[in-house]
Amino acid sequence: MPSLNDIKRRITSVKSTQKITRAMKMVAASKLRRAQQAITRTRPYAYNLRSLVSSVAARADEVDHPLLRSARGEGKIGIVVVTSDRGLCGGFNATIVHRVLECIKHDFPKREVELTIVGRKGLEALRRRHCTIRASFTGASDKPAIRAAAEVIDDIVADFMGGGTDEVYCLYNEFKSAVQQNVTLEQMLPVVPEPHEGDGLPLDYIYEPGQEAVFGELLVRHMHVQMHRILLESAASEYGARMTAMDSATRNAGDVIDRLTLQYNRARQDAITTQLIEVVSGAEAL
């Protein structure tokens, strides 16, 4: 049976932990609001860019761009794993890491898989599991800038163009809502044009300054923006996950405090009762 002082000390300690988790929840909530705005505003831009790339790729059969060549079906697979730099965000990183291992085992069992990792947490976890890590980027997950995305994607594109990888996928948390993130596996390279909607009539554009130049630039921009979008998705998801995790941590701490307080009061009552009995029986003995 712990003494009164022990219980009191534990209550104080849980209370201060609760303060921390509550503060972290508040911070995550306000950061989430900004991150959410960033992603919802960037999505239309990214999706329109993708549909533009698709419509050009679908119409112009003669464009022959290295980023569009179809996969050979052999050689290395690259996976870009997007995680966070900081922990305390529930299952955010664990689910991604789990999915990566699953991917290596089940989706591409016969292929050599090389990882490009964004975020310190994923790097640490996957290094422990002896995965082949080609490159890693840390320090960008908090407020992803387009330049951070460019750095990552340029490295991946260079590796792809150099023949290092045959296909590149990206694994990240897609932002649904503050309490829901979807782990998404998306093919990045080679660029696959979306099946294109509409009349299906081949429509030829006039290209300025020229078809190849426009398309080349468009593809590069497309890659940058998609990567940026993915980083923003992941950042918003991270704050959502952290907010939920810290919310339940705060609530758990409250439960623990209630239980300890009850225990403390009981112990105090016991002590008083014992003392009373002692006093009474002492008086009777006289």
């Binding site: 960037t42 533009l52 006039i206 290209y207 300025e208 300054p209 630039e217 468009l218």
Partner: protein, 138 residues
């Protein structure tokens, strides 16, 4: 003059898309400034940093400063995808002037880690914003 209107949509990262119905629009294309009117042929072009002018029949023109990007013209519908766009009325002229000063002084005193292309881009962007705020062509 051609009848009807064209729809212009501007998209940029971390910015809410905007949409206008206008009867004429001027863009700073990669191959030179061009104007789109209803019935324009399908076109896909790069855009340079500059000013987009949207003209309505009523004459209340809108000026937008944009950074480099792309424009697709198709069925009287223009999609503009630019890494930055800003309405002329919203431009903070003092900041744009300061940005131009900075970029120009960097170009005047080049040191080894100067990225020439980036500094030039910065000047173009700043100029575009200043011009858009004055409702002038760039």
């Amino acid at each position: 003059m051609a009848e009807g209107t064209i729809t212009v949509e501007l998209y940029g990262p971390e910015r809410d898309p905007v949409r206008f119905e206008v009867h004429e629009a001027v863009f700073p294309g990669g191959g030179g400034v061009f104007t789109v009117q209803p019935g324009h042929t399908s076109l896909l072009t790069t855009l340079l940093a500059g000013v987009v002018i949207l003209r309505t029949r009523e004459g209340d023109d809108q000026y937008f400063a944009i950074s480099d990007g792309f424009a697709e013209v198709r069925d009287d519908h223009v999609r503009v995808l630019s890494s930055v766009f800003e309405s002329g009325q919203d431009v903070d002229v003092a900041r744009a002037e300061a940005a131009r000063e900075r970029a120009e002084s960097r170009l005047r005193k080049p040191d080894e880690d100067l990225d020439l292309a980036r500094a030039e881009m910065a000047i173009h962007r700043a100029l575009a914003r200043i011009q858009a705020s004055k409702r002038q062509d760039y």
